[in-house]
């Protein structure tokens, strides 16, 4: 019987985030007081005081936000992990958690004294040694950290000894997934069937510096020049992003260029068996376009619906009518916090894509919306006909399986 797996969670702490990271969570008017606000919010008595007033005024959004800060400001990854694990007690003790580490070292050119990626990984590895059969971390990869053979050697050393089980990409921090520096890593990951998870929703973390640092020219290099058609479409979009002040001056929107699902087509064209998961399935705002405003669409910069685009890539057929990319998955993390997406998810689970939709929550990002236990409850209640079991157990097991790690084999 396959075990339940939360394929998408985070356990890194505030110490792993750059000093300027917190500013992204604040409204722009509060930006200049970020350090002071952070220091105050990190104080338990201050959060209690705000919670008291927020609960009297019925401000649930503020309460959730404080909860998010409370988790993020815990001092060790082990504390964050165990707080997530507690929410799954009802599902049994053998739930697995994929914790996605995140390389936040290149989010800006500003100096920062945070714990860098190797420190974050070392701590995650230590927590894993305490929970070897429950915690399965993925490696946060950034082509500006290491490149080519160096990157491959670094990642391989960790995945080969089963300290890490997959690769996590977060392109909106300022790189394209078709960066040639990732070529050897993809090649190896495809051969070994090591899963790759990539962030794919218009919201989330992004490069906070100037767009000119991360998008210096119209035609960034690609690992697959042979995919001329796909690259041509990507280059045209880059041109539109560079020409518009809206995306060029505000990296929050500008960094959407790195996340676009179409960016993976040159990669998949070269590595069709690569095990790739589009996290968040494009996001609830893309799944329910009628309910959300999409500024880039309204301004004519990018009219693509990312959810539809992911489904298109997952459903592409070759000349013989077989799926082109059978190893492309999507997870419903964070998206599942919106109740309105469940009818759509139930419909999708009745399509041929059903075997490639994964359960994940995006803990602790989702604490802003609902507690982990509430999310779990909402998901199991609203998904019909064993869909939850299929997403969370069978599909996640298939996705995690590689030549290095067999999810059926327990850790002693």
């Amino acid at each position: 019987m396959p075990r339940i797996t939360n394929i998408h969670s985070h356990i890194f702490t505030g110490r792993c985030a750059p000093d300027y990271f917190f500013r992204m969570a604040l409204p722009s008017w509060a930006d200049r007081w970020a350090d002071e606000i952070k220091a105050f919010l990190e104080k338990r008595w201050m959060r209690r005081l705000i919670k008291f007033f927020a609960s009297r005024r019925g401000n649930s959004q503020l309460l959730r936000y404080l909860q998010f800060i409370e988790v993020g400001t815990q001092s060790t990854q082990e504390e964050v992990f165990t707080s997530m694990q507690r929410a799954y007690a009802a599902l049994g003790a053998d739930t697995r958690f994929v914790a996605l580490t995140l390389n936040m070292d290149h989010m800006d050119t500003q100096p920062s004294g945070h714990a860098r990626i190797d420190d974050q990984l070392a701590e995650a590895e230590r927590v894993r040694s305490h929970f070897p059969d429950a915690l399965f971390p993925f490696l946060g990869v950034d082509p500006r950290h290491k490149q080519g053979a160096d990157l491959l050697g670094w990642a391989r050393e960790k995945i080969d000894r089963r300290a890490f089980f997959g690769i996590k990409l977060y392109p909106s921090i300022g790189f394209f997934p078709f960066d040639p520096a990732l070529d050897q890593l993809y090649d190896w990951a495809e051969q070994e069937q090591v899963p790759v998870m990539t962030h794919c929703t218009r919201s989330g973390t992004y490069y906070t510096g100037s767009m000119s640092n991360v998008l210096p020219n119209m035609r960034p290099p690609t690992l697959n020049p042979a995919a001329a058609k796909q690259m041509d479409s990507i280059y045209k979009r880059i041109g539109r992003f560079r020409e518009s002040d809206f995306t060029w001056k505000d990296s929050k929107y500008g960094c959407n260029i790195f996340l676009h699902p179409e960016n993976y087509e040159p990669v998949l064209h070269k590595y069709p068996d690569l095990k790739l998961c589009f996290a968040h399935f494009g996001g609830d705002d893309e799944m329910l376009p009628a309910k959300f405003k999409q500024p880039l669409r309204e301004k004519g910069i990018d009219a693509t619906n990312w959810h539809d685009e992911i489904k298109r890539i997952m459903g592409l057929l070759d000349d013989s009518g077989r799926p082109m990319y059978e190893n492309v998955y999507a997870d419903i993390s964070y998206t599942l916090s919106n109740k309105d997406v469940y009818p759509l998810l139930n419909t999708l689970m009745r399509t041929p894509l059903a075997g490639r939709i994964l359960f994940g929550t995006d803990f602790f990002m989702t604490v802003r919306e609902k507690s982990e236990a509430e999310l779990l409850q909402q998901c199991t209640t609203n998904l019909e006909n064993g869909h939850f079991q299929r997403m969370a157990a069978a599909n996640t097991t298939d996705y995690l399986r590689s030549r290095i790690y067999d999810p059926e084999v327990p850790f002693a």
């Binding site: 990190e42 338990r44 590895e125 000894r161 300290a163 850790f411």
Partner: protein, 438 residues
Amino acid sequence: MNPTQAAFENPYLDTIISLVLVYALLSILVSIIVEGWNRQLKARGVFLQRMVFKLLDDPVNKNYGYRIYQHPIISKMRKDGNGYPHYIPAEGFANALIDSLAEQAYTTSYRAFLGDSDVNDRYSTNSLSAAERAQLVFKKVVAPTTTGSSGKELAPGDRLVAGVRAMADSELKSLLANFIERNMKSFKADANSPEALRLDIDKLKGEIGHWFDDYMDRCSGQFKEQQRRKLWIAGFLVAITLNVDSLHLTKVFLLDSDLRESMVAEAERVADGYEAEKQRLGRDTLSTEELMSVAQNAMDSAQRKAVLEQREKQLEQLTQVDSVFDAQAEQVLAHVRSWQLPLGWNRTEAPWSWFPALGGERLKEIPKEFKPSQRALLDHFRKRNKGSFGNFIKWMAGILISSWSLSLGAPFWFEALSKLINIRRSGPKPKTLQERNA
């Protein structure tokens, strides 16, 4: 210096001394506010953490600062979940660093096992039967990181050497390698065995501890520099809350020789107490608490009480004037009497006196019976109590000067006070009040 030694009298010097005494006492209050602020925002802990991260940040390898903050020796020093310790003892730092480096001597991996047999290589080449695969278990294996190691359990010193050897070449690695090299000692397992070199771990801990202490000394200077902004804000808060107008105080000290004299006498006691405390503790600087105790001791002395009583009598004489404005003068002088200094918020004092609608009161005329010196003092009060743009600018300038002065901190003002008192004592002895009256 003995207070009875020769000294010279100069109203300007005495005014400066009086002003410095006020700053010295009030800047203790500023220090207390900033300390409270730092405690609330855990500023010391955060600063220490940043400095340790900076010291041990090795971009080629890891941030060992982060690692030592994860070490139980340091992490258990936290008072709550998200705080940092305010202080790390050198020995604790050295132990945590050595452990974090030694940890690198080993790597943890999870290998495929069939019972007690390591079949990881067969698993990798996919040469296990289905029945064997069904019985597989992944087990934790801890092995030496560096190649060429015998695989045996290493002694603590050897583990540290191996951990440093496992690092990629970097400045920090060179520094650590030098530490290790300097602390190697000859060792003989027994009388017949050849001499070998072995790391003297206790000596190494001592050297790392000294290195950390030296670094912390430099950091404390940086921390003080960082506190300037806070000190200025706290100085401004104290100046505005207590209405400390430096320009006004200067004028009052210049005009009121009695007040000046009592302030100088008190300043001498404080300076003597300060020097005595420094000598007793064998230190050049005193903490806020120690400075507060110096000030309190000086104020509690019997001599101080006598001066206060004498001063009160003088003030009473001054106010024994039959005049229509007696009450107002009494109010101004009562304020001076109660505070001993023209500080605080009072309805007869600027800036409150500028707003009659809010209860502010002004002196309209100076009683003729007042002596010229007293008249000059009251004339100053009268002029200052009129609401005008010029007065506002002067008051604001006085507050800002006080804010800046108070932000210099109590140690600075106590030191300045001590030096000024020494200068004062270097001239001929001034006449006492009784001598002058006679």
